[in-house]
Symmetry: C2
Subunit: 328 residues, 2 copies
Amino acid sequence: VINTRVLLAKRPAPKMDESCFRLELIPLAAPGPGEVVVRSRYLSCDPYLRLEMASERFALDQPIRARAAGVIETSADPAWPEGTRVWGFFDWADFSVVPTSALHRVSADTTLSQAIGAQGMNGLTAWVGALDFGRPQPADTVVVSSAVGSVGSIAGQLAHLAGARVVGIAGSEAKLRHAVDDLGYDAAVSYRGAHPLGEALTAACPNGIDVYFDNVGGAVLEAVLPLLRPQARLAMCGSISRYDDPSSTAPDLSRLMGSGATAQWFSVHHHLHRLPQVSAAIGRLLVDGALTYVETFVDGIEHAPTAFLQSLHGDHVGKVLVRIGDVN
Amino acid sequence: VINTRVLLAKRPAPKMDESCFRLELIPLAAPGPGEVVVRSRYLSCDPYLRLEMASERFALDQPIRARAAGVIETSADPAWPEGTRVWGFFDWADFSVVPTSALHRVSADTTLSQAIGAQGMNGLTAWVGALDFGRPQPADTVVVSSAVGSVGSIAGQLAHLAGARVVGIAGSEAKLRHAVDDLGYDAAVSYRGAHPLGEALTAACPNGIDVYFDNVGGAVLEAVLPLLRPQARLAMCGSISRYDDPSSTAPDLSRLMGSGATAQWFSVHHHLHRLPQVSAAIGRLLVDGALTYVETFVDGIEHAPTAFLQSLHGDHVGKVLVRIGDVN
């Protein structure tokens, strides 16, 4: 079997484009003791990978390794038989050789794609930031940037379910409509609109902002700061806007001095023990139709770089996944 | 009676010096219904006033109004008889006319100076930041900047009493010695020493930093960031180092992304309901000798500007107070 893999060809410094990646076709290795070969079905495209690709976390000329879900193709571990549906950190490749200690089972009532999306780390990230840390109350105004993205779309809907007034920030008319019409945002404003974001936000948040779930940082965070109410909570999830320009000036958070505001640069990895319960809860909300989650599929491992760039810069809504082979 | 008052003559933009203040001698007004005349004994010199003087919170050519403690001299409110010991926000003046709704009684077991220091807002600020928010554990390393100042000295000692390893940051050999010898810090490092602060901190905090109580911001905060452990807590109390240079670059806190760190720009005003209990608890620690609090007195209302500048830039330890008239 010839395996197709996507390697990191060069670091994204400063810009990330297709030239950062290279395809490689090599014979598939056999699994050693305690290992399996996983046939990947879905690769998760998440903006945070941009930071890892720029750092020493990924080696050059080695496969990108990221969240993915698939099925065990061949096994050298009796506890993990062929056909088991799993997720974990796999190569950007059709097949990955993985130690079974790094595998997670996907329960029968979860699709493979949602196991690495709404019912996986994206959902847990949204839950931890929007609910555990944000603690939205019915009288609160919650603002979410990347409002229709893989994490933001769940964060906004969870805050809405908690009874808060929820305002989304996104970059196109289609996204703003999707936020209000499909995701239940009370209002949505553009950071590329006719009016400066600060004015649009002021109009959409007449009582100020109690909770800000930030996926983008930079100028959007800057526009949010003056509107924060006393004792506001800032769930700091990402700063996509600065990934391509790390030298750009960060907002001066010392302006919050004395405001009682709290910011948390939370990591889902400190909350992994909650994944089974949160995944089940989000699964019920999806089945009930109380939660909407849009998945965008890009077919074929060779298009993984394109799909990833789309997740960083694209005009998609919801989650971008690379889909490999038959749909499961 | 001729009253001596200190007025804000010009805003500190950019520098704060004696020319920002002006003395005024005017006849003392009589109290109206529901008002009293307070004879001030102590004026509290706190760096945060620097920010208020630069903002519209203080009007030009009007008296500075800040925390002070004194005794009711004449009263037009039967509930507040002459001789009552009180604290509140009074003019920088020998006498202030104050509505009794703005007065707080000072209990008999508290000195007037400590009612606006260790057992007042300074103590409550330290308690809220170091204990409520910082939650120091015995295995934790807690770092405090302005380690021997009016707030920092209590914050460090409270964290030490909670069992944490406590490291202070200060700017002179005398302060470092005072921190370790008198206040019980496990170590103290200088931000003006022979070695860069980052190196000194790394040596003093071999396990990293779990809690940082920040009074200064700027370059000191910058040096702390790389040493923070996962899920660190940053109690953001002040940023003295930037008050004279607001255009200086603020540390980029987005570097904490994914670390699980939490920062709170807490305000003591959101926790005022706790003052009676915290004041009593700190009073017991002071009487027991478990807590040390140094007070520096500058005598005479005419020296209030000098005393305030000393609290901002000076080489004192502990609390700076203007003392007026006989000691009480």
